[in-house]
């Protein structure tokens, strides 16, 4: 069978460079992400797809590759792959499962069923929050392997006395998502994985939990002298278990390769292992040592050619993706918001809460501040948009101060009471002007020296003492005074 075709690079506004031996090298990187699919069962059998259970309890005869067992494709896995493909603007193709043959104890059949030369998803793209676009070459379905625990030595594979194998993970559906080499900085790599994760979660394809291994990343790293077009020899980096590792490993590997070339040596095509503690990559094996996988079409399975009507229905039911949602929030804000604020709101899934509150008539800037800062905690997303809008109405009308609004909002999480009821219960009555004036006058009388300095001092002194007097009034009013009104009164009393 014929292997997939070679990729091309694209330009980027930012490119990570390394100096070595008087030459400047630039980074070219592509990423392979394995995402475990959010199915109830495995790729080819009805055993549960569940993380964290007792070892070897989520296994059936197919999972263990017992003699005589046959795979049957999980319809939901096909649907999720199609969802992903449509979410990244890719083409959905007729696909064929193949066998990738190699011996390894965590693989029950000693071959892996994987789509090879005919993947289901071809040619999509991911737009990063900053606007850089990373092309996707393909995404294909395959089955996960079991997990080995190494006993003796330091618990790592090398030096272990023996190993124990748990097949709960074996057969879990995986989508392997292969980017084009469009990643040009370590930061873009991190952003790409974060964005891919957001897409997978938004589309309901995967839970995206890196810490549980639901998302696993390999990086293909090469360097080349700035100004040249040919791709350098690449190394594949494995064991990247966090976004932090990913960025560090790419940066380290780019430097390593640049130093090699500058020293007149060749970069050998290798698979390399990232060690988070030492901050280095080390050789696992070279291409020459790679197995001959003897791919051939899986004879126990027939081709999958999804009905166009099914694909259309899946597309119609697909929720908006993070990039579109970020755009909607930014557009609704009417003010320039930091990318991170928008991204944060979308990532937390609170964009519809914010947008609906704005539609309900609330001030957009106040909505976004409250949603991004004051509703970030547990239950924050559950505050109904119309209640949030009602609170902001009280705030913008002056009935509540910003401080009071924040306190009321905190109470609204997990409560059905109206903002008005909570404000009343807290004693947040807007003070009438007469009462506030009396209170300000009392504070002035109690601090004659400070008042004299305030009245006659320069701007710096006035500024400092404004804070002092507002604080005193706030204390006297137990927080009910409107700070801005107090400042105005002080200015008037001083005759300024």
């Amino acid at each position: 069978m014929t292997a997939p075709t070679a990729p091309t690079t694209i330009d980027s506004d930012e490119v990570f460079t390394v100096e070595a031996g008087g030459t400047t090298f630039e980074l070219v990187c592509g990423l392979e992400v394995h995402a475990e699919l959010a199915t109830a069962t495995k790729m080819f059998s009805g055993a549960p797809n569940r993380f964290g259970d007792e070892p070897n309890t989520n296994v059936d005869p197919v999972t263990l590759g017992l003699p005589g067992t046959l795979p049957v494709v999980n319809e939901r896995a096909i649907e999720l792959a199609i969802r992903f493909g449509l979410a990244v603007g890719a083409e959905i193709r007729p696909s064929v499962f193949a066998r990738k043959n190699y011996f390894y104890p965590d693989m029950p059949k000693d071959f892996q069923i994987s789509q090879y030369d005919q993947p289901i998803v071809v040619d999509g793209s991911i737009e990063l929050p900053g606007g850089h676009v990373v092309g996707l070459e393909r995404a294909h379905l395959e089955e996960d392997t079991g997990k080995s625990t190494h006993v003796g030595g330091d618990g790592r594979i090398t030096g272990a006395e023996y190993s124990l194998v748990d097949y709960n993970r074996a057969g879990v559906p995986l989508l392997e998502i292969v980017s084009r080499p469009h990643v040009r900085t370590p930061e873009q790599a991190r952003q790409y994985v974060a964005e891919l994760r957001a897409v997978l979660v938004a589309a309901g394809v995967s839970d995206g939990k890196m810490e549980e291994g639901s998302l696993r990343v390999d990086a293909n790293v090469s360097v080349r002298p700035v100004g040249t077009d040919a791709l350098g020899t690449r190394c594949e980096i494995k064991n990247l278990n966090s976004l932090r590792s990913l960025g560090r490993a790419i940066e380290y590997e780019a430097r390593r390769q640049a130093d090699l070339i500058a020293a007149g040596e060749r970069v050998e095509q290798q698979t390399r292992h990232w060690d988070e503690d030492s901050g280095r990559t080390s050789k696992m094996r070279s291409k020459e040592e790679a197995d001959d996988y003897r791919y051939f079409p899986e004879p126990d399975l027939l081709p999958v050619t999804p009905d166009p009507a099914w694909i259309d229905a899946i597309g119609a039911a697909l929720p908006p993706m993070p990039a579109a949602r970020r755009q909607a929030v930014a557009d609704a804000a009417g003010v320039v918001l930091p990318d991170e604020t928008v991204a944060l709101i979308v990532e937390r899934g609170q964009d519809s809460q914010a947008l609906d509150a704005i539609t309900a008539g609330a001030d957009a800037a106040r909505v976004l501040v409250h949603v991004s800062q004051n509703l970030a905690g547990e239950g924050g997303a559950s505050v109904a948009p119309d209640r949030l809008a009602a609170l902001i109405a009280l705030e913008t009308s002056g009935a509540l101060t910003a401080t009071q609004a924040k306190a009321v909002l905190a109470e609204m999480v997990g409560s059905d009471a109206t903002p008005e009821e909570i404000a009343a219960a807290k004693g947040f009555e807007a003070m009438d002007t007469g009462a506030l004036e009396a209170m300000v006058d009392e504070v002035i009388a109690a601090h004659p020296d400070e008042w004299e300095t305030f009245r006659t001092g320069d701007d710096k002194a006035r500024g400092k003492l404004t804070g002092f007097f507002v604080g005193q009034v706030m204390r006297a009013s137990r927080g009910q005074a409107d700070g801005k009104a107090v400042t105005d009164l002080l200015r008037r009393r001083s005759g300024a």
């Binding site: 199915t39 109830a40 069962t41 059998s45 009805g46 055993a47 549960p48 007792e54 070892p55 070897n56 309890t57 989520n58 296994v59 059936d60 005869p61 263990l64 049957v72 494709v73 999980n74 319809e75 939901r76 896995a77 096909i78 064929v96 190699y102 011996f103 390894y104 104890p105 965590d106 693989m107 392997t145 080995s148 625990t149 190494h150 594979i157 272990a160 006395e161 023996y162 190993s163 124990l164 194998v165 748990d166 494995k238 698979t271 292992h273 696992m284 094996r285 790679a290 197995d291 001959d292 003897r294 079409p297 004879p299 399975l301 027939l302 081709p303 999958v304 050619t305 999804p306 009905d307």
Partner: protein
Amino acid sequence: MAERITRDDVAKVAQLARLALSDDELDTFTGQLAAVLEHAEDVAALDLADVAPTAHPLQLGNVLRPDVVGPTLDRDEVLAAAPSAEDGRFRVPTILGEAP
């Protein structure tokens, strides 16, 4: 047509297939495999560029299974059949090298 299979080819294939062959077996297999492959020359010599391969006798497709949880095996029964088990898992000797 590929060249005649050599003793080195057979040794490499044995390694891929996780079989250890003695020198005698290597010689015997080299001769026997060569004879079978020679018989296959008639097929290899055919010009079939325009003929699509048949991976499968059935003209079927899209055989899918609903994502519904089915029965699992009893772990004790499974591990009792294993050559070696420990702590709810299958035990194997030292593994040299990470998975590909």
